[in-house]
Amino acid sequence: MSNLPADLRYTKSHEWVRTLADGTVEIGITDHAQHALGDLVFVEVPDAGRVVKADEPCAVVESVKAASDVYAPIGGEITAGNPKLAAEPEIVNADPYGEGWLMRLKPAPGAVAGAALLSAAQYQQVLDSEGD
C-alpha cells in the first residue's frame, strides 16, 4: 500500500500535482511509480521558460529497469526544474512528494487539465484496478 497524501491531486499516469500559494503548480511522480521503477539512476527535467501542453511528455525518469516519460498534467510555462536531481536522482525514491518534486509550472490562463486530475481516493482505485 503506497503513500498517498490526501491534499494532492493525481493523474492516471502516476504524476501528482500540488498547487502552491502563488498559483503555480508543483509536479512529481507518485510513491507507486518510484517503487515500480526501482532505484532511479537519472532524471531529466525541463528547462525554465519552456511552454508545454497538457499531456505533453516533458520529463524523463530512468531506472536500471525502465525509462519513463513524465507528462504535464496541465498546460503552461515551466518556471523551474528541480536542480538537485541531476546529481542525486535517488531523492525521488526517498521523498517523492517533497524534496523529490520534478518541476514547477505556471498554468496557462484558463488551462484545463488534459487527463482529468484525480483525488487520492480515485487514484487509489486506479492502483487497485491495476492489481497492485
Binding site: G38, D39, V41, F42, E62, S63, V64, E90
Partner: protein
C-alpha cells in the same frame, strides 16, 4: 575461481610495444606535406605492451566468459546452437578475406556464386519469392521489412496506412522498428492460450493498418495456431504480414512462413543458421519477400545472367528501399551461413526442426515432473518454452533472476529472463538441437537442486553467483556513477 584480469592500460609501460608488428619508420620529411594545423600534436594514449603481454591478457579475458564452446547456453529466442568450426575455416580462406568490396565482379564469381545459392536456399526454406542479404542484423532486417511494407502502400498511393500492429508479447525491437520507420504502434493482447487474441485483432485492423509484425512460433514458445485466420484478417483489411524470424529454428524444414501467408520475413542467420554470436555480433538479418514486395528489396542483391553472377543495384531495382550498408552487408557471416546450409542439406534442415522441438518438449516435461510450472502447460513446446517461477517468488522470495544467477554456479548459462514481459518471473528456455540428452538431464538436476536450496537455504540462491569472477554487480551504481572509460587515477 579464475583470477580477475587487470585492465590492459595497467600493463602499459612507455616504450613497450609489439615492435615486430610495426612498419618501418618513415622519414619526417615524407609527412611534410600535411599541414601542421591538421596534425595531431600528441600520440593517442593507446596501451604500450609487448606481444606476449597482449596475447596473455586477451587470452585470460576469454577464459572469464561462458560460451557455447564451453557451456550449455539455453537462452530462449537466441538459438545458441553449436557453431561448426568448418564454417569459420572455409569462410576465412585467404581469397575470401582479401577480396575488396569494390573489386570487379569478374574476379568474384566464386564468392557471388556462394551468395546467390544462399539466396536460393533461404527462399526455399522460407517459402518466399526473393531474398536480400544485406541487412546486417535481425533489427536491420526488421527495419527493411517494415520499410518495404510502407514503400508498398505509398507506391499504391495509400498514404494513410501508418499503423503497425504488434502483439504485447513481442520482442522490444518490433515496436522500436515500427517507430523508426515513422509508423505508429498498436499493441494487441495475447489470449491466455498463448495465441493472438483474434477478436482484438479484428477490432484493431482498418484502413490505417500498414501491417502486423508476428513471430511464429511466438515469443511465448508456442505455435500461433490461428495464423491462417490472422493472415486472412490482416490481408482483408489491406495490411501486410511481417514475420520476425527469431524462432525459425522451431519449424525449419517442417513449415514455411511463406505458406502461412507472410509477405515479408527476416531471418536471423546468427540464430537459425549458426553464424557466431561473437559476444554481441556480427549478425545478419537476411530478408525474404513475396511477389508483392519484390520491387522494394534493399540493394544490393545478387542476380544471375546466364552463367554469370552480378550485383543488382539501384538501376535494376528503382523502387528499392535503398542501401542499408556501406557495401553489401556482412559478407563473411553470409559465407558461414552458406557453408552451414550446405552441410545441413535438405534432410539436415528437417532434422534441425525435429530435434530442436524434441529437445524442448523433453526438457519441458522433465522440468514439469521436477515440480516446475510451465507458463503454457496445455501447449506443445516449440523449440523453446517458458517456465514461470512466480510461485517461488511469492512463497520463497526467490526470483527467476536469482535462479538464473545460481545456475551459473552449476556451470549453466541462464536462460532468457528479461522477456517476454507478459509472463512474470519467467525463464524462456531454448535448448537447441545440438544438445545431448545427458546435458538436458544435467540441467534438470541443477534446477531441482536450486529449488531445494530455495526452500531450505534461500540466501544461497538470492546472493548467487558465488563461484564466478565477480559476485552480483551493482547496476544502479553503474548507471548513476558512470565509469565508461578507464582513467589512470580511477577510484572504486
Amino acid at each position: 575461481m579464475p583470477v580477475p584480469e587487470k585492465v590492459i592500460f595497467e600493463y602499459s609501460r612507455a616504450g613497450r610495444g609489439a615492435i615486430d608488428q610495426w612498419p618501418q619508420e618513415v622519414a619526417p620529411a615524407a609527412l611534410g606535406d600535411l599541414p601542421a594545423k591538421l596534425r595531431r600534436t600528441r600520440l593517442p594514449e593507446l596501451p604500450e605492451v609487448g606481444e606476449l603481454e597482449a596475447v596473455r591478457h586477451f587470452t585470460r579475458l576469454s577464459q572469464l566468459n561462458f560460451s557455447i564452446d564451453t557451456h550449455f547456453y539455453p537462452l530462449g529466442s537466441c538459438t545458441m546452437k553449436y557453431n561448426p568450426k568448418a564454417c569459420n575455416q572455409y569462410a576465412m580462406l585467404p581469397e575470401f578475406l582479401a577480396r575488396h568490396p569494390l573489386a570487379p565482379e569478374s574476379q568474384g564469381q566464386g564468392f557471388l556464386a556462394c551468395l546467390y545459392e544462399l539466396q536460393e536456399m533461404l527462399k526455399a526454406v522460407s517459402g518466399m519469392e526473393g531474398v536480400a542479404l544485406s541487412p546486417m542484423a535481425g533489427a536491420q532486417g526488421e527495419f527493411a521489412g517494415v520499410a518495404m511494407i510502407r514503400a508498398y502502400h505509398r507506391a499504391r498511393g495509400d498514404l494513410k496506412r501508418n499503423e503497425i500492429i504488434v502483439p504485447e508479447a513481442a520482442h522490444g525491437t518490433n515496436p522500436a522498428t515500427a517507430t523508426m520507420c515513422g509508423c505508429v504502434v498498436r499493441e494487441i493482447p495475447v489470449a491466455s492460450s498463448g495465441d493472438v487474441d483474434i477478436e482484438a485483432l479484428k477490432r484493431a485492423v482498418g484502413p490505417q493498418t500498414a501491417g502486423i509484425m508476428l513471430t511464429n512460433p511466438s515469443t511465448l514458445g508456442v505455435f500461433e495456431r490461428g495464423i491462417l485466420e490472422v493472415a486472412h484478417i490482416v490481408h482483408d483489411a489491406g495490411g501486410l504480414l511481417y514475420y520476425d524470424g527469431a524462432n525459425l529454428n522451431a519449424i525449419l524444414g517442417m513449415a514455411r512462413p511463406g505458406d502461412m501467408g507472410f509477405d515479408v520475413i527476416h531471418m536471423n542467420l546468427h540464430k537459425t543458421f549458426s553464424t557466431p554470436h561473437g559476444g554481441g555480433g556480427p549478425g545478419a538479418g537476411a530478408v525474404g519477400v513475396g511477389a508483392r514486395l519484390l520491387p522494394f528489396l534493399p540493394i544490393p542483391v545478387v542476380g544471375r545472367d546466364g552463367e554469370r553472377y552480378r550485383w543488382l543495384n539501384e538501376a535494376d531495382l528503382p523502387q528499392s528501399i535503398g542501401r542499408l550498408s556501406a557495401f553489401m552487408g556482412n559478407a563473411g557471416v553470409l559465407l558461414r551461413a552458406y557453408i552451414y546450409m550446405r552441410l545441413l542439406g535438405r534432410e539436415g534442415m528437417r532434422q534441425v526442426g525435429e530435434f530442436a522441438t524434441l529437445n524442448a518438449n523433453y526438457l519441458l516435461k522433465r522440468l514439469q515432473d521436477a515440480g516446475f510450472d510451465a507458463a503454457y502447460a496445455q501447449r506443445r513446446a516449440s523449440h523453446e518454452f517458458i517456465v514461470t517461477l512466480r510461485r517461488q517468488a511469492r512463497d520463497l522470495n526467490v526470483t527467476a533472476m536469482d535462479f538464473a544467477k545460481r545456475l551459473l554456479d552449476y556451470g549453466f548459462h541462464a536462460p532468457t529472463t528479461y522477456f517476454p514481459l507478459l509472463v512474470p518471473e519467467c525463464l524462456l528456455i531454448e535448448p537447441t538441437e545440438t544438445e545431448s540428452k545427458d546435458t538436458l538431464d544435467a540441467f534438470v538436476t541443477a534446477m531441482s537442486r536450486i529449488q531445494k536450496e530455495a526452500e531450505q537455504e534461500p540466501g544461497r540462491v538470492t546472493s548467487a553467483p558465488h563461484t564466478m569472477p565477480v559476485r552480483r554487480l551493482d547496476d544502479v551504481r553503474a548507471a548513476r556513477q558512470l565509469d565508461l572509460t578507464w582513467k589512470p587515477t580511477a577510484q572504486p
